[in-house]
């Protein structure tokens, strides 16, 4: 395996060259980190007939969704509706039971050969994943590395970017999320909001075409939520395709082009926020929004939702 990894290095380097051109690090503009409006790099995500089961528990029951390049999609729904699982299937952290997902025509987890789909080895899936960034509810920053090393790690290991370049770029990304002065600090010395901003910078380091947010503010104290949402808002204008699972309805209304409402593993309705959030056609959507407004649903500061829900899923852990 080591040998294969070594053999693949030149190829990885070539990829890295495209994303980290040698000349650019010197005259890098601060807005380079994915905010360059001249190059719309958002990916087109197609979700087709996706089913997912954990044992007997069917979590996703046939999801079809098209997400256009550069758009912002907010996925809402009660705990256990399958929204986090759906997000995790997009970058193949959860393999599908049935159905297909493609990003820019490339089927995730498979290699297409005419009508045949060959299952990919993990190494190749990892390469596909580099184009799909993910931000977790519980941040999952590497605890033994400084903020800078956290951001620089993936370009170095996944793309083979030299350390110096990766760190220079990491500094720009930390600057972008407003944490330039925290580069040498370990995650545990940062507040939750700061940790999540580092995690966003880390996800941006691979220049993803699609960025997935799994309840990015659910584990945060209320007064720290806004600083993270502000960073996400600035990304929304930058052309990357964003898919956000959230409980923040006002935020979804503010930022999303499309709001998707899920319940019991199905999409109940989808459309522009004005339609879904203000004039929901389905009773379940209406009930959910009512509960959120009155504070009964979606207690955002409690990451572990009650376990007695009829459709509780492993996704919330």
């Amino acid at each position: 395996m080591n040998l294969l990894t070594l053999l693949r290095r030149p190829d990885r380097d070539a990829r890295a060259q495209n994303r980290y051109p040698a000349g650019r690090s010197a005259d890098a503009a601060p807005d380079r980190a994915g905010t360059d409006p001249a190059s719309p790099r958002g990916g087109q995500v197609e979700i087709r007939g996706v089913h997912k089961s954990f044992g007997d528990l069917e979590v996703l029951r046939g999801i079809d969704l098209s997400i256009s390049p550069g758009s912002v999609t907010a996925i809402l729904g009660p705990s256990g509706s399958g929204k986090s699982t759906l997000l995790r299937t997009i970058n193949h952290l959860e393999p599908l039971t049935r159905g297909l997902i493609s990003v820019d025509g490339e089927v995730i987890g498979y290699r297409r050969d005419g009508d045949l789909l060959h299952e990919l080895h993990e190494r190749q899936v990892l390469r596909q994943r580099a184009a799909i960034g993910m931000v977790f509810q519980s941040f999952n920053l590497f605890a033994h590395m400084t903020a800078l090393a956290n951001v620089a790690e993936a370009p170095r290991r996944a793309l083979g970017v030299p350390r110096r370049e990766a760190e220079a770029r990491a500094r720009e990304l930390l600057d972008l999320v407003g944490l330039a002065e925290k580069a040498e600090v370990y995650p545990r010395q940062l507040s939750g909001g700061q940790q999540q901003r580092v995690a966003i910078a880390r996800a941006l380091a691979l220049d993803p075409k699609v960025l997935l947010f799994d309840e990015p503010t659910s584990a945060l104290d209320p007064e720290l939520v806004e600083e993270v949402l502000a960073v996400i808002r600035s990304l929304a204008r930058a052309g990357t395709t964003l898919v956000i699972v959230t409980h923040e309805v006002p935020f979804a209304r503010d930022i999303a082009d499309t709001v998707v409402f899920m319940d019991h593993g199905r999409i109940v309705e989808q459309g522009p926020p004005a339609e879904v959030l203000d004039h929901p056609r389905h009773e379940r959507t209406r009930a959910f929004l009512h509960r959120v407004r009155t504070g009964l649903e979606a207690s955002p500061s409690v990451p572990d939702a009650p376990t007695d829900l009829p459709h509780h899923l492993p996704e919330d852990h």
């Binding site: 994943r129 993910m134 290991r157 996944a158 370990y186």
Partner: protein, 345 residues
């Protein structure tokens, strides 16, 4: 803590301004800052903090001191310890040679043990049932047979299998051929016996460390497209080290002393050398003392190393690293130097 002491003091000193007795100290402080219309807050700068007294600790310290003194006194005054003999042999050439042999054994067996242990731990965590089964079986066998039996079996391998022969299966031509008893020196038998035995234990320890790392770390690394090898070596292992190191040093120190069992193979490590000498001179206890003191020296050195290695791997796991003994000593001295004006009560 200091602030709560001060505010408790305040409650007591100004009973008129702040109402009921038994009021929680913290709220007392809050009240003072929240009500500007009340009388101007009392100036607290003249208050002194009296550290809590621990009379029990002082008594215990005296008792411990007396016991230690008595033991040391008996060491020095009892002539049967024969310190002269100990001093005579401590740096003797044969003892130093035995000591180096012990260190060599520890190093080799430790390398085999922990190297193979890491491999076994990773195998055990493999999704393949075959691979994890092989690892489990290895640990099962080597943990369930006594070390002494393993050492004797390896040493007497020549009795079980007279020849080691590596041949081409088609032509029958031998590529390598040797008598087992020529290959199996006491050193090799000792390294194999100690190393494989150690590996079985090390594997479980390392596996425990790996399991203690949060699953989210692996998930994040996968989501970032970091290859499996780097995930294990750069993300998981450094964090697992915190859980692995304390038992690992236990094992290494155990191994240092465990090498003494190799005397059954008549390999001239420290303990065997000592036995040879006291067999001749009949000075049993002082010679055992020589060996013991050397084991203490090695263990002490390892313990210091353990402290600093653990400290290295706790970066990021604790908010601020505790000071090293040297740093805290310097801090203590620095605190003593300026005349203790307010501290003494």
């Amino acid at each position: 803590m200091t602030s709560s002491v001060v505010s408790a003091e305040t409650t007591r000193r100004t009973p008129g301004a702040i109402a009921p007795a038994g009021h929680a100290p913290a709220t007392g402080a809050q009240e003072m800052s929240c009500r500007p219309e009340q009388a101007p807050p009392e100036d607290l700068s003249h208050l002194r903090v009296v550290p809590a007294r621990h009379p029990g600790r002082a008594v215990l310290a005296v008792v411990v001191g007396l016991v230690v003194a008595a033991v040391l006194y008996s060491f020095v005054t009892n002539p049967r310890w024969e310190w002269g003999v100990v001093a005579e042999w401590f740096f003797a050439e044969s003892i130093i040679r035995g000591l180096l042999e012990t260190l060599k054994l520890t190093l080799l067996a430790g390398a085999v043990g922990f190297g193979l242990g890491l491999l076994l731990a990773l195998m055990r965590l493999s999704p393949s049932t075959l691979i994890s089964g092989v690892s489990w079986t290895f640990s099962w066998i080597f943990r369930s047979t006594p070390l002494l039996v393993q050492l004797l079996l390896w040493y007497n391998l020549g009795y079980l299998y007279e020849q080691v022969r590596l041949g081409n299966p088609f032509t029958g031509q031998a590529v390598f051929e040797a008598r087992t008893s020529d290959l199996m020196t006491p050193l090799l038998a000792a390294v194999l016996g100690l190393g494989l035995h150690q590996a079985a234990y090390a594997a479980e320890m390392i596996r425990g460390g790996i399991l203690s790392v949060d699953q989210g770390q692996l998930e994040a690394a996968s989501a970032l497209g970091i290859p499996a090898r780097d995930r294990s070596l750069r993300i998981v292992m450094p964090q697992a080290m915190r859980a692995i190191l304390p038992p690992a040093f236990n094992e290494i120190i155990g191994l240092v002393k465990g090498t003494s069992i190799v005397y059954v193979l008549a390999h001239a490590e420290l303990f065997f050398t000592i036995q040879l000498i006291y067999g001749r001179t009949q000075e049993v206890l002082p010679m055992l003392l020589v060996a013991t003191l050397w084991y203490v020296v090695i263990t002490s050195a390892l313990s210091v190393a353990q402290y600093y290695i653990e400290r290295h791997y706790s970066k990021g796991a604790v908010r601020t690293l505790p000071p090293t003994p040297l740093q805290s000593l310097r801090a203590r001295l620095a605190r003593l130097r300026p005349a203790p004006t307010g501290a003494a009560a």
